[in-house]
C-alpha cells in the first residue's frame, strides 16, 4: 500500500495513469477549487519544488496567472509591496504571495467564485480612506470588495474616471456590435496538396484556411499526421492556442495530463458527450472550421443546465448573441514581439468570468451601458455610479 501511494506521490506520470492516479487522489489534502480541480493530480503544477517553500509556489501561481494580471493593469502588483516603504504593511499582510489570500485544498473557506478571500483584505492599508473620501465614512471593512465598487486586482471597469465617463449610458446602446476580428492577409490556394474526398475538399475550399493559403499539409504536416493537434494550429493561431491551454478546455493538456473530457467536469454536462477529449477540433470541427457553429452549437453539445436553458429563452439568443459573444470574447491582443495589436477571440474563458466585473469591458459594454452592466452582473443595484455622480456635483459646486 505504501509503495503504491509512494509511487503515486513521487512519480509525476502517475497523474495520467488510470492505475496510479487513485494513489495520487488519495493523497490530496482537501477538495480543490473549481479553477484547479482539472489538474489536481498534477501536483507538480503548483508544488513545483518539494523544498522551494512559498516562493516556489508563488512562481507556479505567476506561471499561469501573471500575464492575465498584467493585462488587467493589476491594481496591486507584487512590485508595489516590495517597496521598502511598505515594509510595515507587509508585516501585517504579506501581499507579495498569492497564497496569503488564496489558499488551495480548503473547501471550508473557498467562496463560490472558486477561491478563498479574506474579508478584511483592504482594511490593513486603507483603513483611513474616509479621511480622503468622506463619502466612505461608516462603511464596513468588507464592503470595498463585496459592494461591487472595487476589486483588488482588476479595476479596469470600476475606476472613478471611467465611471464618470459612462454615467449617462443607456441600458441598451444604440450601436450593438462586436469588434471585427482582424484576419491575416489573404493568399488563396485553390488546389489541395493532398488527396482527399470531395466533401473534405469542398469544406476546406469554403474556409478561411483555403483563402489564407493554408493547404492540407499546412495542418497535417510533413510527414502526414492524420489527426493534427493544437500544436499544428499554434503555428498560425498562437494566441488562441495559448488561451485554450490556459482555460478550462485545455489546461489539462498544458499540465501534461490527458485532455479534458466532459465526464471529468464539475459543471453539469451531457452524458452522451462524456467521453469527448477536448482539442481545437472539438468545437472547430475539421475541415469546415465553422466559427458560427463553434460559437454556440458546439457549446451546447457538451454543456447543459439552467444557464443554457435560460439562454435559449433570452433576449440574447433572440438577438444573435452567442455563448462565445460573452464567454469567448473578442479582445485586443498585443504582440509585444512584433509591436502590433489586433482583435482576436480570447479562448481562455476564465479570463473574463470571475469575478464577474472582469466581463464588463471586454463583453457587456459592446451592447450595454456601464451602470446597467455593473448592476446586471452583481444582480442588484450597485452604488458606485451614484457616488461618483454626487462627487462630481460636489466638485462642481465647490468650483462656483
Amino acid at each position: 500500500m505504501l509503495g503504491y501511494l509512494g509511487t503515486g506521490l513521487f512519480y509525476p506520470a502517475s497523474a495520467g495513469s488510470a492505475l496510479l492516479a487513485p494513489g495520487r487522489a488519495f493523497l490530496l489534502p482537501g477538495r480543490t477549487t473549481h479553477g484547479h480541480h482539472q489538474i489536481e493530480l498534477a501536483c507538480e503544477s503548483c508544488h513545483s519544488s518539494p523544498f522551494g517553500g512559498k516562493q516556489a509556489m508563488q512562481k507556479a501561481c505567476e506561471g499561469c496567472h501573471a500575464a492575465e494580471l498584467k493585462e488587467a493593469n493589476d491594481t496591486h502588483p507584487l512590485r508595489k509591496f516590495t517597496d521598502p516603504r511598505n515594509a510595515d504593511r507587509l508585516e501585517k499582510l504579506d501581499a507579495t504571495l498569492c497564497v496569503t489570500c488564496h489558499v488551495e485544498h480548503r473547501p471550508g473557506i473557498t467562496t463560490a467564485m472558486g477561491l478563498s478571500l479574506p474579508r478584511d483584505l483592504c482594511f490593513h492599508c486603507h483603513a483611513e480612506i474616509a479621511e480622503d473620501r468622506p463619502s466612505h465614512a461608516g462603511m464596513g471593512f468588507e464592503t470595498c470588495n463585496s459592494a461591487g465598487c472595487h476589486k483588488f486586482h482588476d479595476n479596469r471597469a470600476l475606476y472613478e474616471d471611467f465611471l464618470a465617463k459612462h454615467l449617462d449610458d443607456p441600458p441598451l446602446l444604440v450601436s450593438r456590435i462586436l469588434p471585427a476580428r482582424k484576419l491575416p492577409e489573404q493568399k488563396p490556394v485553390p488546389v489541395p496538396d493532398a488527396k482527399a474526398n470531395p466533401a473534405v475538399v469542398r469544406d476546406w475550399l469554403e474556409t478561411a484556411h483555403a483563402k489564407a493559403g493554408v493547404n492540407c499539409s499546412g495542418c497535417h504536416g510533413t510527414p502526414w499526421q492524420e489527426r493534427p493537434t493544437q500544436a499544428a494550429c499554434k503555428e498560425c493561431h498562437a494566441p488562441e492556442v495559448k488561451g485554450f491551454l490556459a482555460g478550462k478546455h485545455g489546461m489539462r493538456i498544458a499540465a501534461g495530463l490527458p485532455p479534458m473530457t466532459p465526464a471529468l467536469a464539475r459543471r453539469e454536462m451531457r452524458s452522451e458527450a462524456g467521453h469527448r477529449a477536448l482539442g481545437c477540433t472539438s468545437c472547430h470541427a475539421a475541415h469546415r472550421f465553422d466559427t458560427q457553429k463553434a460559437a454556440a452549437k458546439a457549446c451546447v453539445g457538451c454543456h447543459r443546465g439552467p444557464h443554457i436553458e435560460d439562454y435559449a429563452k433570452s433576449a440574447h439568443a433572440a438577438n444573435g448573441v452567442t455563448c462565445a459573444s460573452c464567454h469567448l470574447p473578442r479582445v485586443e491582443w498585443h504582440d509585444e514581439d512584433l509591436g502590433v495589436k489586433r482583435i482576436l477571440v480570447q479562448h481562455n474563458q476564465s479570463e473574463t468570468l470571475e469575478p464577474s466585473e472582469k466581463m464588463i469591458r471586454p463583453v457587456c459594454l459592446h451592447c450595454h451601458g456601464l451602470g446597467f452592466s455593473i448592476d446586471a452582473l452583481a444582480g442588484r443595484k450597485v452604488a458606485s455610479l451614484d457616488m461618483v455622480r454626487k462627487r462630481l456635483l460636489t466638485r462642481e459646486r465647490s468650483r462656483k
Binding site: 493593469n73 502588483p77 512590485r79 508595489k80 516590495t82 517597496d83 521598502p84 516603504r85 515594509a87 510595515d88 507587509l90 508585516e91 480622503d132 475606476y159 474616471d161 471611467f162 466638485r395
Partner: protein
C-alpha cells in the same frame, strides 16, 4: 561613510574593473540619470507634443484614451521595472501634495526629507533609516516643475490638494533607498 563596491562604469568615471563608491555618491549618480531622463520626457515629449504642438494628449488613463503616459507615470513605471529586476535599490516619487494619497510621505525620513528639499531644493537630504529590519541609506532630491505641463496638469487635477504650483517650484521629491551592508 561606509563604502560600497560597484562597477566603475556605472558612474561613468574612469573605466576600471571596480572602484569604491560611497552610498551618497551612488544615490547622487542614480538621481542624475533619473532626473535627466525625467526632464527629457517631460520637456521633449509631453510638453512639446501636448502643450506646444498639440498633437497628442498625456493622460493618467493613457491606454483607454490612446494618449501619452504622464511624466510621473513614466517615472513610476521605470521604478517598478527596476523593482522587478531586484537590483537592491529602490526609488519613488513622493510629495507633500500628492494627487494619489498613497504617494504622500510615510516614514519619518520621507517627511523630513520632503520638507527639507521643499525649503532648499538645491540641497539633497540624506538619512539612514531602518524599515522591515533592513537598514537603508535614504536620499531625497527635490522634484521641480520643469515645464508648463507639470504646473497646468497638477493645478487642474481634480484630486490635487494644491492648485498654485509655479514653474520651477518644488512639487515633491525623488526618494532613493539603498540597502546598507
Amino acid at each position: 561613510m561606509k563604502n560600497i563596491l560597484i562597477g566603475g562604469l556605472l558612474l561613468g568615471a574612469s573605466v576600471q574593473a571596480h572602484c569604491q563608491v560611497s552610498y551618497k555618491e551612488m544615490a547622487d549618480a542614480l538621481h542624475a540619470v533619473m532626473e535627466s531622463d525625467r526632464t527629457v520626457y517631460t520637456r521633449m515629449v509631453v510638453n512639446r507634443l501636448q502643450n506646444e504642438e498639440k498633437v497628442i494628449k498625456a493622460s493618467e488613463h493613457f491606454k483607454d484614451e490612446r494618449a501619452l503616459p504622464l511624466p510621473a507615470q513614466m517615472f513610476r513605471f521605470g521604478s517598478e521595472m527596476v523593482a522587478e529586476k531586484k537590483m537592491g535599490f529602490s526609488y519613488a516619487l513622493l510629495s507633500m501634495w500628492p494627487i494619489n494619497k498613497q504617494n504622500a510621505p510615510k516614514t519619518a525620513a520621507e517627511k523630513e526629507g520632503l520638507e527639507a528639499v521643499a525649503k532648499d531644493p538645491a540641497k539633497a537630504f540624506y538619512k539612514e533609516e531602518t524599515l522591515g529590519r533592513v537598514k537603508y541609506y535614504t536620499a531625497v532630491y527635490a522634484d521641480r516643475a520643469v515645464s508648463p505641463a507639470c504646473v497646468s496638469c497638477h493645478n487642474e487635477h481634480k484630486d490635487t490638494p494644491k492648485k498654485d504650483f509655479k514653474l520651477g517650484q518644488t512639487m515633491g521629491g525623488v526618494v532613493i533607498r539603498i540597502p546598507m551592508k
